[in-house]
């Protein structure tokens, strides 16, 4: 069976929803971060799949995916810094306990 654009898009959609589920159900702050990484990867797969199927020979999708990778790395660095600070202040990374700003 020929693999078409739909196949890749559905895989990316599945990955996106799994990342969303992870973000919604994990109490560990780093766990939420892992969900974010899944979501970003799903978006990047979409870019590259469109690149290959709708514009053969074009690299715009690949460049966008490149920027996604770079920015995801940057965001993960800062987020891990935040989690470490959370751990230093609360002795836990359980986000359910980070309620001091809750009004």
């Amino acid at each position: 069976m020929t693999i078409g654009l739909n196949h890749y898009l559905i895989v990316a959609a599945g990955l996106f929803c799994m990342g969303l589920f992870t973000m919604m159900t994990k109490r560990n702050a780093i766990g939420i971060l892992l969900g974010v990484e899944l979501v970003l990867n799903a978006a990047a797969i979409n870019f590259v799949a469109f690149d290959r199927y709708l514009g053969p020979g074009r690299v715009d999708g690949a460049i966008n995916a490149l920027f996604i990778i770079v920015l995801a790395a940057a965001e993960a660095a800062i987020a891990v810094g935040i989690c470490i600070n959370l751990y230093k202040n609360l002795a836990t990374v359980d986000v359910d306990q980070a309620t001091s700003l809750q009004g």
């Binding site: 078409g4 895989v11 990867n41 690949a62 940057a74 810094g81 990374v93």
Partner: protein
């Protein structure tokens, strides 16, 4: 040649990129391409499921590593070789190691678990399921006019040229962002004296 090479295609002639003279092509509908795609897609979805369902944070990170590796393989299948290699270097070998460091610096014991209530799990599952359903419906209902079969893949020279001409501003801004992030992360994670 692309990583899949002529093994995945039915015929022997391959498109040559005129500018760079390099053969790089996405596979055309051979049986090998289908086998590889389903294997890689299966790995991606199973490892994504592993990330969702694991309750131990270290195991979640390992499943994420498998997911990132599978996504890299998917890039190779889509003939974006450079991107696949960069995904391995930056994401799997860099970002993931950073996340694992974060996990290890913030976990109290290897078996610590944070559990969520059943209602939250159900609600999240419903929301994700509905979103997946909607996305799937939209994707299959749209007529994409996609080009299947043998197509030339992306070449590194092209990416490099575009990064320095069309995408120069985002490229420079990304550089500045990375520098800011480096300083910021070093400051955030500093030792308090």
């Amino acid at each position: 040649m692309g990583l899949i090479g002529s093994a995945a295609s039915g015929d022997v002639t391959m498109p040559v990129d005129e500018r760079t003279g390099v053969m790089n092509a996405a596979a055309s509908g051979g049986w090998l391409e289908a086998v590889l795609f389903y294997t890689v897609a299966g790995m991606t979805l199973v490892s994504g499921l592993g990330v969702c369902v694991s309750r131990n944070i270290v195991r979640m990170a390992v499943w994420l590593f498998v997911a990132l590796g599978s996504v890299s393989m998917m890039y190779f299948l889509l003939a974006a070789n450079f991107l696949g290699a960069i995904q391995l270097i930056v994401y799997a070998g860099g970002t993931l190691v950073l996340l694992i460091f974060g996990v290890m610096l913030t976990s109290k014991s290897p078996w610590a678990r944070f559990d969520v209530g059943k209602i939250e799990l159900l609600a999240a599952a419903v929301v994700s399921g509905v979103l997946l359903g909607c996305l799937g419906a939209v994707i299959t209902a749209t007529r994409w006019h996609g080009v299947e079969g043998m197509v030339p893949g992306s070449s590194v020279a092209d990416i490099g040229r575009r990064l320095l001409t069309e995408y120069l501003v985002p490229f420079e801004v990304a550089g500045v962002v990375l520098m800011v992030v480096m300083v910021g992360a070093a400051h955030l994670a500093r030792q308090e004296k």
